[in-house]
């Protein structure tokens, strides 16, 4: 396991990035995305737990602070490079084998819909070793199982350093289940994404 150092940047080609976050997630995401330029070429798909009741302003909030295009993940949308997709509140978000997105209304998982586990597991099925999965701050157990599945299918896994996370429950749960490839601060995660994008082109 590497902690902090990027000297072992993986040779395998990353084609998509999935990120899961819960409590404290908005700030964490903004911190990571702030480091990405407008030409960032990989697709990024994000599940952030939010209250379901009202229409989410998240797309607008993130889009104002991020150089790359930001959209709400639409059912059957083909995943485009260089686009940041945010899961819609109230629906699970999955990646299909043909690398398109799909929504569903299955029961909540860990009291959450969208569930990070469902995004990670389905993206692992679609991308295999070409996937990078990042699990950030949060107050429940969602994402741990999905992250383990990403690793089992050969993808790269990153967990935010629990010491830095606003709420460490989610990173801790992931670490208890498996050793990720990296444990990094938000700053380190931003640098990793930029570095991986460099190797992907």
């Amino acid at each position: 396991m590497k902690t902090g150092s990027l000297s072992h940047a993986p040779a395998s080609r990353v084609e998509a990035i999935v990120i899961g976050a819960s409590a404290g997630g908005v700030e964490a995401l903004l911190s990571i995305f702030g480091t990405l330029g407008s030409g960032f070429a990989l697709p990024i798909i994000v599940v952030l737990h939010l209250p379901e009741q009202r229409r989410s302003q998240l797309v607008e909030v993130i889009a104002r602070r991020v150089a790359m295009p930001v959209v709400e993940a639409q059912d059957k949308a083909v995943i485009e490079s260089g686009t940041l997709y945010l899961a819609a509140p109230g629906y699970h978000l999955s990646v299909e084998q043909d690398r398109s997105l799909s929504l569903s209304l299955e029961e909540r998982l860990h009291y959450s819909r969208p569930a990070i586990d469902y995004l990670f597991e389905s993206a692992a099925d679609a991308y295999g070793p070409a996937l990078l999965a990042v699990l950030l701050t949060g107050a429940n157990q969602d994402g741990a199982r999905g992250l383990a599945q990403v690793k089992r299918l050969g993808g790269l896994t990153v967990v935010q350093d629990p010491a830095e996370a606003q709420v460490a429950t989610m990173p801790d749960a992931a670490l208890a289940l498996q050793q990720p490839d990296y444990i990094l601060t938000l700053h380190g995660i931003g640098r990793l994404l930029v570095e991986l994008e460099g190797t992907s082109c």
Binding site: D75, H92, S94, E96, S102, S104, Y118
Partner: protein, 271 residues
């Protein structure tokens, strides 16, 4: 996906189609895979192949599996703003028809049916309306016919009903008995419940309005196109299509055959 899982999933779905004529071949794969995995636990099967053997030789086991493959997650007046928009924007136009036919496709356990019936009764249209409520799951249809819903959800449904522009007291429409709310059976006097598959069956009637909410998200693009084709063929000139909050004909082959009436609430009209 692991190669064996991929093969086994395909074989299971093919076996179900060949044996029972339920066609899940063009459903979205990620959700189907999760539900099959869930079924493996319920059936205590180690592999999908073992589950396939079980359902192939035991129709009762298949009926049990069907309950896990379909998603009976529904509520009454779900997305109240959607029903408010139907009341305000669609009802005045529906009123101009001497008789009205409505198709609720994928009605599951009936929540959408009773919501629509209540709305139509309050608008004075229920008596001249025929509602076709269809689903592929016979057990869901049976529940829908009974119109008995768990009392624990009624408070949320009541709130939805009020936000949807309800004109009465929601309690007027049901009788509480033990833990259940038994809905006024006259609401379904003009409702025909029927087995119908958007994947394999064809159009059965001309309709003025079709409601198909949170069904199409489980289909791949090809099957979505088939469903939109059926809706297009069934709807009368300028008929209404109302969808779930994340569904749209925009990206289908029928994108130009439907135009939004209230885009935000997913209410469309045949062009």
């Amino acid at each position: 996906m692991e190669r064996n899982t991929e093969i086994e999933l395909r074989l299971l779905i093919e076996a179900i189609y060949l044996k029972y004529s339920y066609d899940f071949r063009d459903y979205s794969g990620a959700s189907i895979k999760r539900r099959v995995n869930h079924a493996l636990n319920q059936f205590e099967c180690k592999t999908i192949s073992a589950l396939q053997e079980r359902v192939l030789h035991d129709p009762a086991a298949f009926m049990q599996l069907l309950q896990l493959l379909t998603i009976p997650v529904s509520e009454m007046f779900r997305d109240p703003a959607h029903f408010l928009a139907i009341r305000q924007e669609v009802v005045p136009l529906l009123r101009t028809y001497p008789s009205i036919k409505i198709w609720i496709a994928g009605c599951s356990t009936g929540e959408e049916v009773y919501s629509m019936a209540i709305l139509l009764r309050e608008e004075g249209l229920l008596e001249r309306t025929i509602i076709y409520a269809t689903d592929i799951n016979p057990r869901s249809l049976e529940k829908a016919k009974q119109g008995i819903f768990s009392l624990e959800n009624i408070r949320a449904y009541t709130r939805n009903y009020q936000q949807a522009g309800g004109q009465s007291s929601f309690a007027d429409y049901y009788t509480a008995a033990y833990d259940y709310a038994i809905f006024d059976k006259s609401l379904r006097d003009n409702v025909t419940f029927a087995d119908h598959s958007l994947a394999t069956d064809s159009v059965f009637s001309e309709t003025q309005l079709i409601s198909c909410r949170n069904v199409l998200i489980y289909f791949n693009k090809k099957l979505q196109d088939r469903a939109f084709g059926l809706f297009h063929d069934s709807l009368c000139h300028r008929g209404f299509l109302v969808l779930g909050s994340k569904e749209t004909p925009d990206f289908s082959s029928y994108g130009k055959q439907f135009e939004p009436l209230v885009k935000q609430e997913r209410i469309y009209r045949k062009t």
